[in-house]
Symmetry: C2
Subunit: 412 residues, 2 copies
Amino acid sequence: MKNDLDALMQTNNLDAILITGPGQHNPAMVYMMGGGHLTNADLVKKRGEGAVLFHYSMERDEAAKSGLKTKNLGEYILADLLKQAGGDNLKALVKRYQLMLGELGINSGRVALYGRSEIGTNYAIFSALQKEMPGLSLVGEFDNSVLMFARMTKDDTEIERIRKMGKITTQVVGQVADFITSHSAKNGGLVNTNGKPLTIGDVKSRIDLGLAERGAENPEGTIFAMGRDAGVPHSTGNPTDQLMLGQTIVFDIYPCEAGGGYFYDFTRTWCLGYAPDEVLALYENVLSTYTKVTKELQLGKPFKDYQEMTCEQFSAQGHPTIKEAPETQQGYVHSIGHGIGLNIHERPWSGITSDENNCLVPGVAFTIEPGLYYPDKNMGVRLENSFWARPDGTMELLADYPMDLVLPVKIA
Amino acid sequence: MKNDLDALMQTNNLDAILITGPGQHNPAMVYMMGGGHLTNADLVKKRGEGAVLFHYSMERDEAAKSGLKTKNLGEYILADLLKQAGGDNLKALVKRYQLMLGELGINSGRVALYGRSEIGTNYAIFSALQKEMPGLSLVGEFDNSVLMFARMTKDDTEIERIRKMGKITTQVVGQVADFITSHSAKNGGLVNTNGKPLTIGDVKSRIDLGLAERGAENPEGTIFAMGRDAGVPHSTGNPTDQLMLGQTIVFDIYPCEAGGGYFYDFTRTWCLGYAPDEVLALYENVLSTYTKVTKELQLGKPFKDYQEMTCEQFSAQGHPTIKEAPETQQGYVHSIGHGIGLNIHERPWSGITSDENNCLVPGVAFTIEPGLYYPDKNMGVRLENSFWARPDGTMELLADYPMDLVLPVKIA
């Protein structure tokens, strides 16, 4: 949680962190200052001190909303800096960073870099800044990121926002189910009242609208993938395909609060009208694994233990898994879950190679999402819910929704 | 344009470019491969050759949609790489990059880095890769970015997509005007049929819905700022404020195609019911400057000439400008425009310090947006349209919409 940050910085021997980039769709920045319409800003936090937000002049009121100490970048006259730098924009910007850090008394020590922005431009800036300030050590943190560790555990306020996104998500899923089942089938495919095919594109428009109506957005889209596409985990579905009876549809929806806030993650697999025996068997395998894994969730356990459990379970059911065949594109091909928060994917990780810091400690919010995929048989099944490891040790399902495979459909 | 890329790479002495990050909301990646649900991918293009897209196994069909040569990252067994790297995830990933580049014959030369992603993580990765491959020179391009130069000029296909976003934008603006004027005023503020205040939040919901209905999104929100907020260019407006008569409302809308595609940028200033004399005078100053600047737009001219013109014009009208007072927060406080494309702000730049490469050459798409701001007088006016410098030398207004200040409102 955020109040662990200073201790984490001490562990990683960091004197400060510097976050750059916009105020929206920039998880580190949103985490530290709450988001807002900042086209580009810098946030600097020294260990043991509050953060300072550097902002453009015309974004001063947006910056003020953060409640942080703010500093107007307009006070550094760029035209003057540019003159001093002989017309070199990069040098002028680096000089501004030197002044900014200098004013905060940061002239040496270790400073970690954060923010979602253009990696090339920032590689140029921070490499140049590093040369100009040899006493300072600019650090890119990789898998020991203090911010990702802090963000891994959610407090009550954060989890309430994720719960609300869960509610919105399941409302939209319910709306989509109603929308689909209000149609009739003709010759094996769904049609609207004019007899025209109901397409995946039509359904996706409904999803987008349902989210917008509730103040949410889906910056990374939505998976609504049918048949062979359902058999490839991240295929998003072909908008012009007609919804057909008896095919698996993987519906994976991962919206966030407007402006790039907290995400939810949720998947159901549907068959319209009926489920062929082969699909039903696959679904039952996934459901039984989901049930086993979620029943055994236990505070403090390494998340990858559940990946092992899932692989064993699916292996026992006769499916290939990435454990014994890392390159397999059939059977169980991904990991059992991941943390959710301001990133749709974040700590804790559950992959077999994930380290010992990825445990189900109190406060983590995470998905459980077993799935089985047979693209050559035109089918795939995934079931996913999101959970919170409560401080009292129980695992809270963050949004409830029926797991049913078959959506009944009228025949025209 | 994209087919200038090899020549630009030659000019900058680049042997290859490497773009990393997701397939959506990542302009460089979207530009080169068309977008799609890739959670994280790498695209490498050698000078004079086609691009190769490295993707995760379960995103293979999404990657294939790009039409590019693809390579499945699943072929590099991460568990093996990790074992070789003694369990160090960063080293394993760096090794994978070495293998990837090696397979393309990239062991030396200059490789520029691109992509919108986590700057700290990537600083770690590419600093480490640089150490491992001393014969290679990894380059962060700053203001001479080949991709930003290529993207500065739009071809027919790109401009048609921007035109379509312009159409959607003006449709939504029209819908919002109808929505507002369908309400009546009572005691100086707009109310709905139940007598409850109509708020900025209500209007923003309409905007979000109108965009979603048309398949667009607004990842960076929308400015609908009234009174004092209208006097601070990037204040987005307070959702709980009631819409009041006779106050300036700056309505700046900048949506993009779903998934982080091409943007449009558009601003109107509205007064509901009536405009006080002081506001009317301000509006007329802005409109006359808009008219003068757009009339004089000329192919090949430096964009900043129009910033000079705008400053002169506003100065002559008695307003402070950032030209003679860089720190001013009153009068004219920003630049006259910017390029639009896969970034909402991109080349060409019009700021006084922008370099000679920012000219209105054939193919650029750009905004013209004069504005005057008096936060202490609770007013601000901005008018903005977007244009394309056509190959034939004419300047095409990309979406037409009335410039009227006053929206008539019934009194209850």
